[in-house]
Symmetry: C2
Subunit: 324 residues, 2 copies
């Protein structure tokens, strides 16, 4: 059994706690939290520990799955945890990945651990699809579309506007843009041409609708470059209609070989629950991380470095027989 | 430069000869044929050798890409070539892969070579998609649909009927079946419910249409279990409308996580030229095979064993920056 720890008990930590029971080779041994362990109601019978006691678990956990957020938690926690354990995380701030990789790589190497960073679906499965496609058809263009799905970051941005009580934001790919790429065209899209944004907003009593709608639609980085629709709804409707966290998207690569022959590769995900799918990826990667560490590898790794067979707990000969 | 040989100069060998020029780290050094080398008109300036002289190239070729057919060529040639070189092949008789793997594995190990077997798109990219999907969502069902595309095996089967001058057979996925799976249903399809077959047949002078149509539609294994349509056309029309070799298909996996949340993963290929795409996969795998051999690995490998990053000739930090 591979002994697994979960660090952080939000949506992702909860999903992993639940999904890990499907893997007969993995054993969840502890959940670590910054909160008072006694205050945490968890779904399983796992031990809950305050994160300050993590040092005591150094030889009792093979892989720590890091479930904090990318903005502040992971950049701080992963370099610390990589001193004690092999780790897996879903760091998803694309622009900062190179710098983050170097920091984690150095610490993991010094401490003879493997730290697999930035896994989930994007970065993660979408990344490896971009790699396969670009490598097979180097003369081509890759497009990534996200949605339809809930963007937590954009929902949070709306919630920070004074007068907003709650909000949910959906990122929606522009159907006609997806179709053009799917048909082998290689257009240069503007941001606006690829995705639209739809917002469902609950107001505080007496808040100014027009001001808030204007603030959302003109918010730089988040909404200003998109065609954005704002709907004001009641708190009850938000809870009833918008409480799940679906997501998904498409990676489409179109490339050419000799004589102008065209080829289109498409990978798509349609997910009812973003955290449960992301958690499922992290669990498989935890297994692969353990195997890489057992082989004597050290340092930061990504999904690019993982032989796909390492993700599975099924015997290689059975995989070749049934899936090859 | 990684020195590459091509063994076999049919559609696949020709495609590799042409596509390999896109890789600045690969050098095509020789093409091997069973024919008289002087009779072979090739597209490049590469040396052409009779296969009987291959022994002389033992230390001059890093990876031999095997381009023969799966029914008789590869099972005979690959075990011989694995004594002399690292090899890559597209052996695609799914039922015989386990036995083939064991034979090649033994010889490659004895001779300290890596032989990557059964790559292309199915087996190959479709296989690794089935593996990723089943590993991430073990509680789920995977469906593979092929087409619309030309099946060489089925075209050949029609050509063997007396009275048939030439033929082309298209495998076509049943749209409504694909849609059901794409929507997360997990039906048990019969063979007939997944694919239809469409045949374009050129008759010899005076041949009996009705008998031939009946023979096609009732041919066991190839057509009897399918809804098959037969069109009789002229030789000119066959050349004009059906001379290219398009293919493609879909791998769709739908799985569940906690609380019944559903997730659908889909990978699809739409290929203008089956041999050019297959050749492009084999080229990337030849690079990975060279790297695995350089690392000291030996034996038979499949796409399951290859860290995706090994397929690329781009620096790892650039891949992480641009594709992760």
């Amino acid at each position: 059994m591979i002994r697994i720890g979960i660090c952080g008990y939000g949506n992702l930590g909860k999903a992993i706690e639940s999904e890990i029971t499907k893997s007969s080779d993995l054993e969840l041994v502890a959940i670590f939290t910054r909160r008072d362990p006694n205050s945490l109601k968890i779904a399983s019978n796992t031990v809950v520990e305050n994160i300050s006691n993590v040092q005591n678990w150094k030889d009792k956990i093979a892989v720590m799955i890091m479930c904090g957020g990318s903005s502040t938690d992971l950049p701080k926690q992963v370099p610390e945890m990589a001193k004690l354990f092999n780790t897996v995380d879903s760091f998803d701030t694309h622009a900062k990945i190179p710098e983050y990789f170097d920091i984690v790589d150095k610490i993991a190497k010094e401490n003879h651990h493997v730290s697999t960073i930035s896994v989930g679906w994007d970065p993660g499965m979408f990344s490896v699809m971009r790699l396969y496609a670009n490598t097979i058809l180097p003369n081509g263009s890759t497009y990534t579309f996200w949605g339809k799905g809930v963007s937590q970051g954009h929902s949070d941005a709306i919630r920070r506007i004074p007068g907003v009580k709650d909000a949910r934001q959906y990122t929606i790919p522009v159907e006609s843009a997806v179709e053009r790429v799917r048909n082998g065209e290689t257009p240069n899209f503007t941001t606006r041409e690829k995705h639209t944004r739809e917002c469902f907003v609950v107001l505080e009593d007496g808040a100014d609708k027009e001001r808030i709608e204007h603030e959302i639609k003109t918010m730089p980085n988040y909404f200003a470059d998109y065609d954005t629709t704002v709907h004001f709804i009641t708190e009850e409707e938000l809870k009833r209609e918008h409480s799940s966290l679906p997501h998904g998207g498409f990676v489409i690569h179109s490339g050419k070989t000799s004589n102008g022959n065209k080829h289109v590769i498409e990978y798509s995900l349609k997910l009812d629950s973003n955290p449960e799918f992301t958690g499922s990826v992290l669990i498989a990667v935890a297994r692969a991380t353990y195997k890489m560490s057992n082989e004597g590898l050290v340092g930061a790794k990504t999904i690019f470095d993982i032989p796909p067979i390492y993700l599975s707990n099924i015997a290689p000969q059975d995989l070749r027989k049934n899936l090859l």
